[in-house]
Symmetry: C2
Subunit: 433 residues, 2 copies
């Protein structure tokens, strides 16, 4: 990386549905993360409507950057005008790419019946999609629309990478887009950042802020990019630095050392792995079943998300009613009567029942008061009981009061349960937390 010369980028996502607030833009964050990995500094993400003048205004507002990536506004319909706008801005007239005309023609033909178009409309759409700004590289389509990598123009400094709207297509053509000559020319000026991705569970963001302030008192943290955020109830601390920057390396080591000293027990990943990935690996060779009340099946749903989950997940019982807890999991009526359906005794019985019913070696049970109603002074909304049990009788039992509204309590319970399973499956001497 040339000293000090950061390659900067902006992202423009187009689509009036984004401005109606009905749909959240998925492409901006995805592209931003990918650019970050390449060592490119994203300074702005702009969402605009479908009108060409809005797209042009957004592209002009990013004229000081090195790279602009657009998503959406490509495609066969009349209001998809991104290619024309970019051609105009960069002063590169649109020319027919005959190879791409054939590629697109074959693809559109397959969609033709469904689109209910006549032959004339079809030929026009075909030609429109195969028009490429002079000097630009067409990127083969994943859906119906090719992408474009457009070098800077005489009056427009940024390289422009034009991608389609559907996230699947953006992600599917990303590697080809990065490999295109105009993007490679930019990447020669940069170098991927060195990144550390710490993941902590059970530490509030304010404590990490205090830790960082403490490090900052004796070490200059300015050369280090630190992003902390809460995602999926885990605290993510991402440290990013230019390779070869000595001061950044010193800052990095000081931050990691202080986090380890203060919060080491809460660190569950040092490589950015999610709890799902970690648990999937830990469950190898085991079988697991769930017994859920307030989470209503969300934990089982989450455990079965990865392909291959059937190797360890046997199933689960959603015992939302007391009858289901008694009949399907064998929770003794006396436990329900004496301690209630939300009690450590009830989840212990539920976990035992799940182990028996499914014949598994690990079971996890959850019962709680997700709210908004049903809370009492003794057991308020957010009070959730957990039991993780193995077939040999080892148990972890917890009964915290979790903050947040109904949805938060349910989702947080799922994540907490996953971390408890992680703990029971992590051999003591290898534990990261």
């Amino acid at each position: 990386m040339a000293a000090g010369a950061r390659v900067t980028a902006g992202i423009v996502a187009t689509g009036s549905e984004l401005l109606a607030g009905r749909v959240r833009d998925a492409n901006g964050p995805w592209i931003a993360e990918r650019l970050g990995r390449l060592g490119i500094d994203v300074t702005e993400i702009v969402l605009v409507g479908d009108r060409p003048e809005e797209m042009a205004a957004a592209l002009r507002s990013l004229a000081g950057l090195d790279l602009v990536v657009t998503s959406g506004g490509l495609g066969p319909t009349a209001d998809d005008l991104t290619a024309a706008v970019v051609a105009d801005l960069t002063g590169r007239p649109l020319e027919l790419d005959e190879h791409m005309e054939k590629v697109v023609g074959d693809i559109i033909a397959r969609f033709a019946d469904r689109l209910n178009w006549d032959a004339d409309a079809l030929a026009e759409a075909n030609r429109k999609q195969a028009m490429v700004p002079r000097g630009a590289t067409a990127i083969p389509p994943v859906g119906t629309a090719p992408g474009l990598a457009v070098p800077p123009g005489d009056d427009y400094r940024p390289t422009v990478l034009v991608l389609p709207g559907p996230p699947r297509e953006v992600q599917g053509m990303w590697d080809d887009a990065v490999a295109s000559a105009p993007v490679q020319a930019l990447l020669e000026r940069t170098e991927p950042f060195a990144e550390t991705h710490l993941r902590l569970f059970g530490v509030p963001e304010s404590e990490i802020a205090a830790t960082l302030r403490a490090v900052g008192e004796h070490t200059d943290l300015a050369p280090l990019e630190i992003v902390t955020c809460l995602r999926d109830f885990a605290l993510e601390v991402d440290l990013r630095r230019a390779p070869g920057d000595e001061a950044a390396a010193v800052a990095h080591d000081a931050v990691v050392a202080e986090i380890d000293a203060r919060h080491g027990a809460a660190v569950f990943s040092r490589t950015g792995e999610t709890i799902d990935e970690i648990l999937f690996d830990l469950l190898s060779g085991h079988t697991i079943a769930t017994a859920e009340s307030c989470t209503g099946g969300l934990l089982a749903g989450r455990l079965t998300e990865p392909a291959g989950a059937s190797a360890h997940v046997q199933g689960g019982i959603v015992s939302y009613s007391n009858e289901a807890k008694a009949n399907l999991l064998g929770v003794p009526q006396q436990v329900l009567d004496t301690h209630g359906a939300v009690s450590t005794q009830a989840v212990q019985a539920m976990a035992r029942g799940a182990i028996e019913r499914f014949g598994v070696d690990v079971a996890v049970a959850i019962s709680g008061i997700a709210g908004p109603g049903g809370g009492t002074e003794e057991k308020p909304v957010g009070y959730v009981c957990f039991c993780v049990r193995t077939a040999d009788g080892t148990e972890i039992v917890r009964d915290p009061v979790l903050p947040g509204a109904r949805g938060d309590v349910r989702e947080r319970s799922v994540v907490l349960a996953m971390h408890l399973v992680r703990r029971i499956l992590t051999p003591r001497d290898q534990a990261v937390s």
Copy 2:
């Protein structure tokens, strides 16, 4: 509404975590939807980092609009500089609001211990938060930071509404923000749109596009704002028009009539209700249980999402393994051997089992091949069997091949199952589809 005078708005969300791609901005879409309801035309959403010069550049790029709403960059820490940037742009010097100083002081005092700050830092943060641009209205805090409604400046045309970052705080202070004098002054120039929200299930976007083209051949659709999008596997068609615009009303009626004529059977809502809301109402007086394989508990999780779900949801069984299908749901081994676990016969047996086990009057069973592995020529990835059954023996059985990757197949299956439950619970003569 003054003829032709549309009130326009832009939204700026700040936070470097948004540009690192780790977090999706939740405020932009939420604010955009709310502004739309007020009759304000959102033309751009911009996400920028935490640096004041980035925020200032974004605000300047929106200088041609009537309203700019910011989120984030408010708060007690040093890098939260939105108020200062807005004060500078509008030429309105920051002045201490003594009432707000007291309000904020009381709030910060409660957080002080957690923030680990000394008395000096505390007093400074307190004062900083209570600084209000001259002539602006402070909006009482929901969290720690007050919002600001700032009238236009001599050299800056838009009214600026400054809101905090956390979505809960944005949503919590929205009504007060709208009621503030600077925003009310803008709203005098507009009028909420008349809106129609059609929801269709089972119609591809391309068919609606063809229908709209057909209407456009005999009716001018330009005065009508039409946003179509796929959300939660349903097609949303939102029609928005200025009240009193005759041409828009004609266009609206023509579009609704043609959609009814071509796709009437697929329309499940005319008021924007979700399938979840519709199903919750239909389930009143009924009890329901689920038997899930490939969806792994997601359907039960979704049915238990609304508060009050325990009135009708008894529970569910996630029979991920064949043993669980046989042991817990009583699916005959002969069915599994002859037809396989993914078969209409298996889901019929699963639904019967769920009705018996849970003693409910409606059960829904799902078994399919979510992929990416496990597909065969006869039963490819995406092949999913559904059975909805009532205690009186009425059944709906379906076995489509659903498109998409594993996650898509699972989520689409959940939604399709919900629509099948809706059908079995909707009396024939009242059916909207």
